[in-house]
């Protein structure tokens, strides 16, 4: 049975199953997007949704050791196991709760499905004038008896003059396919700062469709680092909305895929107000038969004068069978703005490989070092040294080389 039938079967079981009826109708109306939908042109869900996912959780026990092994083991952790909040830290000035306020926000079928059925997630509120020193780790771990759909609905509110750094991981721990449909709404109040790192280093049983909306007020600053090193199918939607002046939004991505992995990074930068800035840098490295999609849209509204918007997507195809579809989009309705975008697709520089060879560095290592160097400017945006080291280590493993410098 396909996912849609499974969902209908589930919702028919009782009126309590659907938490938001309007959202559910919207989902049923729209159905899962097909490749005829412009936003899903290169990203087919067809095969994914034909799997026999269970909607209700039949979780298996996840031990503390497993949590440790699958996390960065930071001091402050929010841990969800098989859909339930398992652990949360106490941090002064920060309120962390199980998300009970299921806000009605949704913008397409997938987010409507999430709004309709998600029963869990977090709500994090950082009080005014609070600088959270230690990064907060958020983990969503799943270990299910069968193939399953896991949905979470989250909210982060960073109040005036406050800042927080977050590292999030969504991970499936066994070989049963897990479709994680994640929705996160982030509100940054005046002069609030967030650095959100998504570490997506998954095995090939993990499917993620993530939607994150970031709403920024005057003078706020957001940085999103997407570190995508594996997973069967990943679709990230990052939607930024600058609702006040002097906002800054930064998106950085490092994607390294191998085998038959697939990833689609969709970003939407909405410049609504004047004197703001956005910077976007995505680096993609594709091996094996992996496929990537990048779609970055920058919208500059009539009131958004004197903005600076920069976007770049650079890709390395390291095998004959890998591919990337890259689509930058600019829509500009203001006349005094600075916008640039660029997209490159290439291979490693043979001259550089030879140069390194003559210095005694083997071909394999030269390729790996150059690949790492290619990703480094996006990687350097990570401000948490420990995470930087973890990312570098994961890249070395992925490229099967020692990058011990």
């Amino acid at each position: 049975m396909g996912l849609l039938e499974k969902i209908e079967q589930y919702t028919n079981r009782g009126t309590d199953k659907v938490s938001n009826k309007t959202a559910y109708s919207k989902f049923i109306d729209l159905g899962f997007p097909s490749v005829k939908n412009e936003e899903w042109k290169y990203t087919s869900l067809k095969k994914i949704i034909s799997n026999n996912f269970e909607i209700e959780n039949q979780g298996e026990e996840i031990t503390d050791q497993e949590i440790k092994n699958n996390s960065l083991d930071l001091d402050n952790k929010v841990v969800f196991l098989n859909g339930e909040l398992y652990q949360k830290p106490t941090i002064s000035g920060v309120k962390i709760e199980k998300n009970i306020d299921l806000s009605p926000k949704y913008n397409d079928a997938i987010t409507a499905l999430n709004a309709a059925l998600a029963k869990n997630g977090y709500n994090i509120t950082v009080s005014e004038n609070t600088i959270v020193d230690k990064p907060l780790e958020i983990l969503f771990l799943t270990k299910n008896k069968s193939e399953n759909l896991a949905q979470y609905r989250n909210e982060i509110i960073v109040k005036k003059n406050s800042s927080i750094k977050i590292i999030e991981q969504v991970k499936n721990l066994n070989n049963n396919l897990c479709f994680s449909n994640m929705f996160t709404n982030i509100n940054l109040e005046e002069k609030a700062i967030i650095e959100f790192n998504k570490l997506q280093n998954n095995n090939e049983s993990q499917i993620i469709v993530d939607n994150t909306n970031i709403n920024q007020e005057t003078g706020s600053n957001s940085t999103f680092n997407t570190l995508l090193f594996g997973g069967l199918f990943t679709r990230n939607n990052l939607n930024f909305s600058q609702n006040g002046e002097r906002c800054e939004s930064n998106m950085n991505g490092v994607v390294i895929l191998d085998n038959s992995e697939f990833a689609d990074n969709h970003t939407y930068m909405d410049h609504l107000k004047a004197n703001c800035e956005s910077n976007e840098l995505y680096k993609g490295i594709y091996l094996g038969k992996s496929k990537g999609v990048f779609n970055g849209k920058i919208m500059v509204r009539p009131d958004a004068q004197k903005i600076n918007a920069f976007q770049a997507n650079n890709n390395l195809l390291l095998s004959d069978d890998s591919s990337i579809n890259s689509k930058p989009q600019l829509e500009i309705y203001a006349d005094d703005v600075k916008c640039s975008h660029g997209c490159t697709i290439g291979q490693l520089d043979e001259d550089a490989i030879f140069y390194m060879n003559t210095r005694g560095i083997s071909k394999e290592d030269a390729k790996a070092i150059l690949t790492y160097a290619f990703a480094s400017d996006a990687l350097n945006k990570i401000s948490i040294p420990y995470l930087y080291d973890v990312a570098k280590d994961l890249i070395s493993k992925k490229l099967n080389v020692d990058l011990s410098f």
């Binding site: 390194m356 005694g360 290619f374 990703a375």
Partner: protein, 254 residues
């Protein structure tokens, strides 16, 4: 140390080197001079192992082992170093990390542990002083945005760090002003030992005022057409190449 015999090589079926013979012993400095297009850079590329060039015959014996059987990185591990005419920019890798990677690989091949960071840094400082290099230089990306002179200095810096047995300097003087030239030449001279050798490839006599060769060879049309002592370089500076290339063309055809 190095014995090249009847080396013929070319690219896309066009023969560029038409039978090179050359012997270099430890402690010697050889200069290879010649007009543009004579095959100077091809020779250095073939010795270093650039696969762009196909070797059709001959051998390049280095300590009795034919370099032509080895990959470029293996040649480097044996002690061959090429200072590039056009060093390659490598964005994203700092000079210090690049050199660390090179030294670590060589030591690994030799069965040695990586050099302790403190020792490595100390050595880098010492060699930088030798070449009058500014401290911030180590953290710059490899050759990225370097001026022509900085790139050449960086080549000699790598040479100083890697301590090769045989260094081939391909047009190291091009892009250097006279002060930089003196510094680089001084660096090369200080690195000279009784157990290493240097081949200086140059178009002009200028560099040879500072790195004084024991032997000078004239390369023309893929062949060494004349060899002599350092006085040959002066003669070339004075009279140009025509007087010998004409003789050679009469012998082999132009």
């Amino acid at each position: 140390m190095l014995k090249i015999e009847n080396l013929k090589a070319g690219v896309d079926g066009v023969e560029i080197l038409k039978g090179i013979n050359l012997s270099v012993n430890s402690g010697e400095v050889h200069a290879i001079m010649g007009p543009n297009g004579s095959g100077k850079s091809t020779l250095s590329s073939v010795i270093a192992g650039d696969e762009t060039f196909e070797v059709s015959s001959g051998s390049v014996l280095f300590d009795d082992e034919d370099l032509l059987d080895l990959d470029p990185d293996q040649r480097a591990h044996k002690g061959v170093f090429l200072s590039f005419q056009y060093p390659v920019e490598i964005p994203g890798i700092s000079v210090s990390n690049f050199i660390k990677a090179a030294i670590t690989e060589k030591r690994k091949v030799l069965g040695l542990d990586p050099m302790p960071a403190k020792d490595l840094l100390g050595k880098m400082r010492e060699k930088m002083d030798l070449l009058n290099m500014k401290p911030g230089y180590l953290s710059r990306n490899m050759n990225e945005g370097f001026s022509g002179g900085e790139k050449k200095r960086n080549e000699i810096f790598q040479m100083a760090m890697l301590e090769p047995k045989l260094a081939i300097l391909d047009e190291t003087d091009s892009g250097l002003d006279i002060d930089a030239l003196k510094v680089v030449a001084n660096g090369v001279n200080k690195l000279k030992k009784s157990n290493n050798a240097t081949i200086v490839i140059t178009h002009y006599q200028r560099l040879l005022d500072y790195i004084v060769p024991d032997y000078v060879h004239v390369l023309h049309n893929g062949r060494i057409i004349k060899s002599g002592g350092k006085e040959l370089a002066h003669k070339l500076e004075e009279k140009g190449y025509d007087w010998i290339t004409k003789l050679a063309d009469e012998k082999w055809g132009s």
